[in-house]
């Protein structure tokens, strides 16, 4: 066992923290209020190699291990959860599956610009009628000559308004159900690729979330990602990485809530003394810190394992489940510690509370995480302590 980070991991974390402190945090409030996409931040993050962190250097990435990525994402999300999710989607949901499943030609064509941050990616699995039941894909892809013709609607697509490339899941053999699903790399400038609606959200307002309508979109068959009919495998394996990304985002929100609470409780005086002197406040802070560290351990362990190329069905789900509930608790406690000030926009907890909620929902609701964990344990048994 060894709980120390490598020198490289520490260097990456410190670099991300420095950037987050100087550039991201000062913009977080404005991004939340205006819902504007932080173009300038993403450009600078690309220059710092934060957009394709685990992609090998010869494919345009930073060649980092997954734990280094988690540490960087945690720091960015501590400053701004919206910026965090933009980074998470590009790294976890777009670069990772292309890195793992694409042909060399596809990697040259698509992965290099994505990893360099010259292009932005999005990931289109969810549909209006296929949320938790993601295998129930209604989008269809019909082969026609050298192309597939895609028709359908995709829902809640993060980065959808700005993305250049989109990984789209569609059914190439509807009669086969889940085994008919295939994954495609789609240029968002293709004819018939339409942004039908931009959602207005409770939180993470600086990242876009759109409905996409695919109206006879022609996709070259060279853009098929992995084999026909094996799209659902791609999706599930990708979500294992995606869940680690969301866990890291949740760590960032949880850390921001703790930091705000420590600062405020030492400054705020009631009954003639700082409220940090009161056990009621101390105990909330102790619980926040303990849960945050528990979530960190689960997330770092999942990242470490995933980085070795192993499947992490239980570890990724446990990290995502626990970290997201921790961040919801920490955001709740931060609002509570701030009292009335926690409920107004002038103080950070109000935003954190809204941002935190999504972590319990996306990349598989926590209900799905629990089902995945339980099914696996009931079938495979508990792993050794």
């Amino acid at each position: 066992m060894n709980f120390d980070f490598t020198d490289e991991q520490i260097a990456v974390r410190d670099m991300a923290k420095d950037f987050a402190d100087r550039k991201v945090r000062p913009l977080a409030d404005e991004l939340d209020k205006t819902g504007r996409y932080p173009q300038e931040l993403i450009k600078e993050m690309a220059e710092l190699s934060l957009m394709g962190m685990c992609v090998p250097e010869d494919l345009g990435g930073a060649g980092m291990d997954m734990l280094a990525y988690v540490l960087a994402l945690e720091e960015i999300s501590t400053a701004c959860a919206s910026t965090g999710v933009i980074m998470s989607v590009n790294n976890s949901l777009v670069c990772e599956p292309i890195k793992r499943f694409a042909t060399d030609e596809q990697k040259q064509k698509f992965l290099i610009p994505l990893a360099r941050g010259e292009k932005l990616g999005c990931y289109a699995l969810t549909e209006p009628n296929a949320g938790t039941d993601a295998g129930h894909q209604e989008t269809k892809a019909v082969k026609k000559g050298n192309n597939f013709i895609l028709n359908g609607t995709k829902q809640f697509i993060t980065n959808g308004a700005e993305a250049d490339l989109c990984i789209v899941y569609a059914n190439t053999a509807p009669e086969k159900g889940v085994k008919g699903i295939s994954a495609f790399i789609v240029d968002t400038k293709s004819a018939g690729f339409k942004i039908a609606k931009k959602e207005k959200k409770l939180g993470i307002r600086g990242s876009s979330c759109v409905q996409i309508v695919l109206d006879n979109v022609e996709v070259p068959k060279d853009n098929l990602l992995h084999r026909e009919g094996e799209g659902f495998k791609v999706a599930m394996s990708t979500l294992e990485v995606g869940r680690i990304g969301i866990a890291a985002q949740a760590l960032g929100i949880g850390q921001a809530a703790l930091a705000a609470s420590i600062k405020y409780s030492k400054e705020r005086e009631q009954f003639g003394q700082p409220i940090a002197n009161f056990q009621a406040i101390q105990f909330m802070i102790a619980d926040m810190a303990t849960r945050l560290d528990a979530a960190r351990m689960l997330t770092y362990k999942a990242a470490q394992l995933k980085g070795t190329g192993a499947r992490t069905p239980v570890e990724s789900s446990q990290a995502k489940l626990y970290a997201s509930e921790m961040c919801m608790y920490n955001a709740w406690a931060a609002v509570q510690i701030h009292g009335g000030y926690g409920y107004v926009e002038d103080y950070i907890p109000e935003r954190l509370f809204r941002d935190a909620k999504i972590c319990e929902i996306y990349e598989g609701t926590n209900e799905v995480q629990r089902i995945l964990i339980a099914r696996n344990l009931i079938k495979e048994g508990l792993s050794d302590l």
Partner: protein, 382 residues
């Protein structure tokens, strides 16, 4: 970061697991709620090295690191929580003797733990009026020539029925209030004036011994005081830092067994024509339990690893203890819920797991004390 155990640690874990299954399990399986751990089991544990796990090999111990020690406690707790606490407390005293004691303390006391002459050792800190506020203890030790004369009462002395000697905290001066007036003494059971009081009738851990003690003019030679006069609370607090990892490891072991029992039962039991394990309500309990158990395991390992490296670990040990014990209590409660009515009767083990594990958020520093330690660490000088 690296989350795998080393080959040595795996081997130690296996050694403890085998011993727990082959020796401890048969010895405790027929105990009733009024029986205590058999002395010959404790002696066997002692001579096999379980009571001196982290004592250096040069001094006759097993020379384990803190992480391996934690693994052993967890393996014992999976089979018998009472045995695990008996072992944990004895090791705590063994470590105190190595850390704070001199050669003659090793010869006189540590040797007894190694040989089985005193199969366990005990710590006398808590009193009727001083629990969490440990340094408010009132027991006195009055200097008389080259001896101290000890007077007072102690409660909740774990291993009290089994131990041949006790580590006793007493106040050497009433001039100084609080921790600075406290000194640590080693007191043989056979000393004149040591009165062994009643066994407490507890909710759980019934096979472990928890007694009251009275000290009436007990004469202790100055040479059996550890460190200097007035440095007793330092001895106690250092001991408790390690004790927190032990209790967390104990809670982890009991919780693990309870979860195994819960999963097993959920698979076998059918209601409404299908296995309980197919109902989401039950799946959720299992998922929550397994997730929190994994987190607890990692927090314990981190604290134990830091301790192994002789790095600061007070905050991490408190977090591990707080999180693991509260997790374990919740988990054991939920596994009873999965069992329904059967969980409430003694034919199924989950009833005992719940009673045994309940104490873990109370002893070696209540959860409230852990939260205070954590908050003070984070908030700085308050």
């Amino acid at each position: 970061m690296k989350f795998e155990l080393s080959d040595d640690q795996r081997a130690i874990q296996k050694w403890a697991k085998n011993f727990a299954q082959a020796v401890v399990a048969p010895a405790v399986s027929k105990l009733s709620d009024s029986d205590k751990l058999p002395m010959d089991l404790l002696k066997k544990l002692s001579t096999e090295g379980f009571m001196s796990l982290m004592v250096p090999e040069a001094k006759g111990g097993a020379g384990l690191d803190s992480l391996s020690f934690s693994l052993v406690i967890t393996e014992l707790a999976k089979i018998c929580a009472s045995t695990s606490i008996s072992v944990a407390v004895s090791n705590m005293i063994a470590d105190v003797l190595v850390r704070e004691g001199q050669e003659h303390h090793h010869d006189k006391f540590l040797s007894q733990l190694l040989s089985g002459e005193s199969p366990t050792a005990s710590f006398c800190l808590t009193e009727n009026s001083s629990g969490s506020d440990a340094s408010a203890l009132q027991m006195t030790a009055k200097k008389e020539g080259d001896h101290y004369c000890l007077n007072g009462e102690k409660i909740y002395v774990t291993n009290g029925a089994f131990s041949n000697f006790f580590l006793v905290m007493a106040r050497t001066t009433t001039e100084v209030k609080g921790s600075k007036g406290v000194s640590a003494f080693l007191v043989p059971r056979a000393s004149k004036g040591v009165v062994i009081g009643k066994e407490e009738d507890k909710m759980g851990l019934s096979a472990s011994s928890t007694i009251r003690m009275v000290f009436e003019n007990v004469m202790v030679p100055e040479s059996d005081r550890l460190l200097n006069d007035g440095e007793g609370m330092q001895v106690a607090l250092r001991a408790l830092d390690g004790g927190r990892i032990s209790v967390a490891s104990q809670a982890l072991g009991v919780a693990r067994r309870s979860l195994e029992a819960g999963i097993e039962y959920a698979k076998l039991r059918e209601q409404f024509g299908k296995s309980l394990s197919e109902f989401q309500a039950i799946q959720w309990k299992i998922a929550n339990a397994a997730t929190e158990l994994s987190a607890a395991e990692l927090l314990i390992r981190r604290a134990a690893w830091l301790k192994s490296q002789q790095r600061p670990h007070r905050l991490e040990a408190s977090m591990a203890k707080l999180f693991s014990t509260e997790m374990a209590i919740r988990l054991c409660n939920e596994m009873i819920q999965i069992h329904g009515g059967y969980g409430y009767i003694k034919d199924y083990p989950v009833e005992k797991y719940y009673r045994d594990v309940r104490v873990t958020s109370l002893y070696e520093g209540t959860s409230e004390i852990q939260r205070t330690v954590i908050a003070k660490n984070i908030l700085g000088g308050l």
